[in-house]
């Protein structure tokens, strides 16, 4: 265990700047959204923006549209904003391909020439993914809480803690899912850019598939393959509970991905 502790410590030091910077930015982004929501609320602009929205946006958002066009709705946007989701998926890809970068640079040769089992390297990566997920979402929740406490107008209804918690949990599962996908790909290739590129393209494709399927019926038949289908913030906004099906699918993909990575990494040749 001594070796693993040292490996984990070294790995945390390698990624800490990235994780902390990203987490702080996302936390500040939540505060920024509350500033915008407060401004819109004070100028009664939600109704005007709602009226300007094209019909297809209303169709995509369905009944959650009305809820979204409110102070509380705007505050929760920070948990499903495209930039936030993209950043978090990117963070997961960067962390999950840590071993791949060590192979590419050649540092893995020095690590694995020591009496350290290969599976410990993946356990280290999984631990870092979990830690980064907790830190980044923790900072987002902290940002929301601080923003609401200090900036929210007195006469508006805050989004419930349960809603924020459910959104964060669903987003965390989505992050773990993409972390696992990146880990599987990273365990099979030699170049970090290749692993990151493949995972990134896969994430973008499945995101677009899910997005298109929400307004274009023919795409719905294959939209189930998209992990984004199992992240449904608008349902949560409508007051529905976190779907157990979504949880099972995302956790399932994550577990399957992590398991497959262990298998692939234990069998692969380490060459750069």
């Amino acid at each position: 265990m001594k070796g693993f502790g040292i490996l984990l410590n070294y790995s945390v030091r390698r990624v800490r700047t990235l994780v902390l910077t990203m987490s702080v930015i996302l936390g500040v982004f939540q505060v920024f959204l509350i500033v915008i929501a407060k401004s819109l609320q004070s100028t009664h602009a939600f109704e005007q923006i709602g009226a300007l929205m094209p019909p297809f946006v209303r169709e995509v958002m369905g009944p959650s549209f009305a809820t979204f066009m409110s102070f509380g709705g705007m505050v929760t946007l920070g948990y499903f904003h495209l930039a936030v989701m993209g950043s978090l998926v990117g963070l997961m890809i960067a962390l999950a391909t840590l071993s791949t970068s060590e192979i590419e640079v050649g540092f893995m040769d020095l690590i694995l020439s020591r009496p350290l089992a290969r599976h410990r390297l993946l356990t280290r990566t999984v631990a870092i993914i979990l830690l980064a997920t907790m830190i980044s979402l923790g900072m987002m929740i902290l940002g929301t809480w601080v923003g609401l406490r200090t900036l929210a107008p007195r006469d508006v209804e805050w989004p419930s803690a349960h809603l924020i918690g459910s959104l964060a949990l669903n987003l965390a599962l989505l992050m773990l899912c993409w972390g696992a996908v990146a880990l599987v790909i990273g365990s099979s290739v030699r170049r970090r850019a290749v692993a990151g590129g493949i995972t990134g393209v896969l994430a973008l494709t499945t995101f677009l598939l899910d997005y298109i399927a929400r307004s274009w019926k023919p795409a719905e038949s294959i939209a189930w393959i998209s992990p984004f289908r199992y992240y449904s913030p608008l349902d949560l906004l409508m007051g529905l509970p976190l779907s157990s099906r979504n949880v099972v699918v995302l956790v399932g993909i994550a577990l399957l991905g992590f398991g497959l990575s262990y298998l692939l990494f234990s069998r692969r040749d380490i060459s750069h």
Partner: protein, 306 residues
Amino acid sequence: MNSPGNSRSAISIRGLTKRYGKLSAVKNLSLEVEPGEIFGFLGLNGAGKTTTIRILLDLLRPTRGQAFVLGCDCQTQGLEARSQIGYLPGEMGMFLDMNGQEVLRFLAGLERREVDPRYRQELQERLKLPDHDLNRRLREYSTGMKRKLGLIQAFQSDAPLLILDEPTEGLDPLMQESFYELLADVQKRGRTVFMSSHVLSEVERTCRRVALLRKGELALLSTVEEIGRLAPRRVRIFFSQEVNVHPEFPTGCQVMEMRPQEWCLRVEGMLGDLVNVLQGLPIKDLEVEEPRIEDVLMKYYREEVV
């Protein structure tokens, strides 16, 4: 079924083959390295040296065959095998934002055996890499400094077996000298050294035995002494007066130059037969150059290129 390695060997390689698709990087390689010896592993680029070394470290998985380190199967008992190895890779792949101290501390922490700080300090002094250099970021290191750092991390745990891939690549002549002294010292303390090298004079100086790989196959396995015996020697014969006879030279003798008062021959093997032929001639002086194993090894290299 796994058969246990020769427990008396430091390294035991049996029928090792590594294929990448249709390309065979190593073909049916078998060799034994005895404990306490310095063993040279030679071959041109792409001959399969590094592939073999990487299999010993379980970084690569063999297509066929087995490799053992001090009796431990490198695959099935990889942790035990690697706990007895100090390894210097051919290229030191490191993150340039780390400093030397961090690299050494991190790698020492992954070892099972404790690193003696006094021994590490001694290595630093011998290789001229003081603490203030170790505290610098690796991006500021020269090629030679990186090599020194590589040597320190390989030697610092004082492992029973050292696997060194091109150890003197990038070292200046003074540091090479320090490295040879270090090798001699570790050998005195019973450590085994398995090193690949392109520098034939280095191999001649430091190794007791060598193996030469050619296109993944073992082309030569011998002691340096034996190779020296196989090596052709240049013999110069000076006569006190002009000699115009053309004797029939024994097998292994090749005339390089023939002047009335001086002959130059290239002789493979013993000189006895040549001396018999020269009897009766007015010999003034005889000059025999020391055999160089480079000449023998270069012959193998050239055959590979052809």
